[in-house]
Subunit: 332 residues, 4 copies
């Protein structure tokens, strides 16, 4: 159950009520919000005089659910508002990893040329082997910050684990929580206290229910600006790297109030399918696209097979606006 407390309830009183109700408590605008287990179906007598409104939900998809808030939430992602009544689909592009200043600057220049506003690149790579490139760490974050200054871009980069979450939050404009870190309470709880939007990627072994509930960790910490990112799930099919779950996207659009962003690059794992899939993702009517492109994919230190060349990306990018128009949206 979600309870909106009256605006005259102060922090101390809200905390008391929360403890009594075994509820999570956070402040929104000028009032406190309590969230109990969804199994609580009736408002407690003690809470009643302090409550402005309360909402019963059928599962622990609470703040993120359309049962609670039917209209799509809206916030600014990079430079453009998404969700709500906005019909923007934000293009987010760049290489898998920051590898060098020269490389990331070429990426920044590509975005500038195409009037794309959000640059993506990883600094802390969640590799599955300790014997491969692990990312440039803080050095990479500094290079991203430099590109932001020099080219007027917004940047998004990934937190790998709780040991460096503060550092990433400091440097980035949008916090990315990767598929492998999606259940990380250390990260989720810290992001709940951050004042930057969060892009939460679905774990490749994660159900939609669990995925949205992980967003609830961030939202119930007080940061409700979360976008859900589908990037492929692991199935028996291994000809492609993962299986992009667009049926799941239809579910997220129907049953949650959060913006949805799609990452076809990781799902496919191979350059050849990315353009077709990007167009399909756009036609689903989503709020953002996350595409990997690298100045020279052949020498990329991670995900070499799936990153588009700048030429391939540019050609694909130019094919998108007509599809967006056909469904009443705009790629920004």
């Amino acid at each position: 159950m979600i309870i909106h407390l009256k605006s005259n309830v102060n922090a101390e009183k809200a905390a008391q009520l929360a403890e009594k109700a075994k509820a999570v408590c956070f402040k929104r605008d000028n009032y406190f919000v309590l969230v109990t287990s969804s199994k609580v179906r009736a408002l407690d007598a003690e809470l009643e005089p302090h409550a402005d409104a309360f909402y019963v939900t059928s599962s622990d998809i609470q703040l993120a659910g359309t049962e609670y808030m039917p209209q799509k939430r809206s916030f600014v992602l990079g430079k453009h508002p998404i969700g709500g009544e906005h019909k923007n689909t934000v293009m987010i592009a760049g290489p898998c990893s920051v590898e060098s200043e020269e490389q990331i600057e070429q990426s920044a220049q590509l975005l500038k040329k195409l009037d794309i506003s959000v640059l993506r690149a990883g600094c802390f790579k969640p590799r599955t082997s300790p014997y491969t490139f692990q990312g440039l760490g803080e050095e990479g974050l500094k290079l991203l910050a430099k590109m932001r200054e020099k080219y007027g871009l917004k940047v998004i980069t990934e937190v790998r684990d709780a040991s460096h979450v503060d550092m990433v939050i400091d440097y980035t404009d949008i916090i990315q929580i990767g598929a492998k870190a999606m259940y990380d309470h250390g990260i989720l709880r810290r992001c709940g206290k951050a004042d930057k939007p969060v892009l939460l990627k679905r774990g490749f072994g994660t159900t939609l229910q669990e995925f949205v509930q992980c967003a609830e960790f961030v939202m119930s910490g007080g940061n409700e600006n979360v976008a859900l990112c589908e990037r492929g799930i692991r199935t028996f099919e291994t000809k492609t790297r993962f299986t992009l779950d667009l049926c799941g996207v239809a579910y997220l659009k129907e049953y949650t109030n959060l913006p949805v962003i799609l990452d076809p690059s990781h799902a496919m794992g191979y350059r050849y399918g990315v353009a077709d899939l990007t167009r399909a993702c756009l036609a689903m009517g989503v709020d953002g696209l996350l595409i990997e492109t690298h100045p020279n994919p052949m020498v990329a230190q991670s995900d070499a097979e799936q990153q588009l060349t700048h030429e391939q990306f540019t050609e694909m990018f130019h094919s998108l606006q007509p599809i967006a128009q056909a469904i009443g949206r705009k790629v920004v």
Copy 2:
């Protein structure tokens, strides 16, 4: 290995050579084609004088593969050519099952009104419980034939098992092999001798490799007019009925020469997501779409949850042509 025999090799000789080479043999135009295991990498000395050309392939995706034939195959599906240089995306629509003359006639009238040429509906339903509606059988086939006559439509219906494959082939214009029957040698081999195009659905537990190899059973029987239909695979996600595998579609487009058709209705399993998914499927650039729509889904005897109403279908259908145009295709 695929071997094109010289046109002066007669049937008897071809059969002899095939037996010797442990090859499958079929006639194409005025010459015979032999197909051995893909493990055969060099042309046998005895075959050499009789061979016009031979093709080595890296797996048993042979006749269907771009290694053998890089250009997309083309044939008429219903009334329109697909594949090859054609940019047609054929809409195939209708209810899950033929339930009554009144019902199927309403479906036929909807198609006529929207100028859609291929009517789908099942007569032999591969239900998973013996205690539910099993389809009208031959009575249903007769009703489909009646609609073909009365409304000038083409029809497609499913073979459930080998016991009635001849009957279905007699009545239908396009033979559908369903997901659960995809490995059925009795059906596959019989369809290899049929002179009607085959729509082969991917089993929901079937890898892409196995899927295309099942098409090889039909093709190596002599009927090369096979279209591959992705309809969702079974994964850990159960909020939706299946998971539509568009990454797999990208693979099929890249590595096979067969037309590809998509069935988002069965993948999704719920009406609410079908329109978005249909648009995404179309944006992938495929040769056909298979959509379930029923005059009154609430009383449908099978798949009641996923069939669009005629109003929903009509609205969705009218949104498709602009997307098709954006990618240089036409919905027919």
Copy 3:
């Protein structure tokens, strides 16, 4: 709902009542049984005077479920009774395919030596490629029959599709329905009229619910002697051929009244793991084991990687009885 009609209801009357109730009808001993959809929760007034007893079930797992019949069903599999109060675990062994008389005779001799009573081998192979060995067909069935005569063995072999189901039923002692044919109504319905026990393998993409419901097709045809065989499901893990689902076996033991048989050979796909897995399967307390062993696996025409040599099989076989004893069972 399952309804036991009174024994004075004759065939004609039973058929009338069945049609009215949209029920499947079969004869058991001296009375008829009707099975309607499980959604029927109350006995129809018209049926009431003719019913001896009726059973409401929570899903279409009806005849096979413990809701209807809590005690394990029992019948003779080969030479030994399984299920019920019997604590027998029947060993079924032999090569993947009948390849030649010499080969299958060596297998028969191995079984004779180890006092194993049921010989397995395939004649109609459900291969996924048309360009590989497809089985010896009827010639193979004849060789199996010969081994039965000569060595006093019982034999089990697989039906691939409905086109040869009668032939297989004629020759075999136990009818095997393979994983790929598990949904084949042509086979299932024909087996429902056969008087030989059926070993039904779970499809590798099949849920437990669907699996047991396929057994209902056979049982509701009148042949209630069905054993369920788990042989591995398809998952994201590809280091092994399939994933043996012993959690699923625990479910089948708890919620169904059918004997359970395990096939670790196909699940594993590699010789090295088969012995450990066979011991684990036995320790689950099941009614049978199906193990592939070949006189010379290196030259086997199918499943060469997973068949044990006769030496490996013999060594493994001798390790089983102590485990069986530890859990109060006996390997026969």
Copy 4:
């Protein structure tokens, strides 16, 4: 490639060589070990004079692989040596979560009574909803330490994320890395510097290759005492909580040198199947078993469905030793 440096190479020199070779470096006994990418196939000229031995491996399963070290590794888990030539199967038991002193003391007493040496219980629970019980945190760790003192037990508890990894390492005897934290570099790298054995659980969406590579993160940090724990993977089957992958266990036993521990409780998710599965796991011949049991499962704050009562656990426990004997092992 794994390189054993000569014992006269000091830390500074080893670090230099490691940097040059892009290798991970750790000290074992009196010499340093370098591990480069497995793609390095030939020993560098510069390394040659300093190398005692080197080992080429076919994938990044290096320190953990039988290619490098064919014999099973051995270390003490709790009070008993596992792996190597030891035939011990260590029973680890206790509730899902520490809930109160009274509850955990009842668990400790049960273990004492049955002469079981390792008590398991979680303090930082990786719940998927923020609105449920999250564990007692440090308070729970203190209760576990108290039980250790009072009952002479060893304890194992789980690290949820990197924010409390030091605290858990301080309190526990065996460090558990849970399925959802398996990719967490912050945890893995910290555990590589710990001097306590690590039980690494397989992520439910994790391939065997990735799983073992995660163990490599710990091992290449210098802590080679890692046990691999299979606890069920996520598949399409939802009648049971997960699918226990015993085929995968056969693979781990064949291709890695690490002890293997099995957790059937989480795989099954329901009490009714745990006893059968535990016996099957034991019959696989593994080094440990991890079983959930709770003094009163009905009121458990997490995993209420799958925890055995103390009576059920005791009965099951007494059935194990005969099976262990049958395969030449001992449950300790």
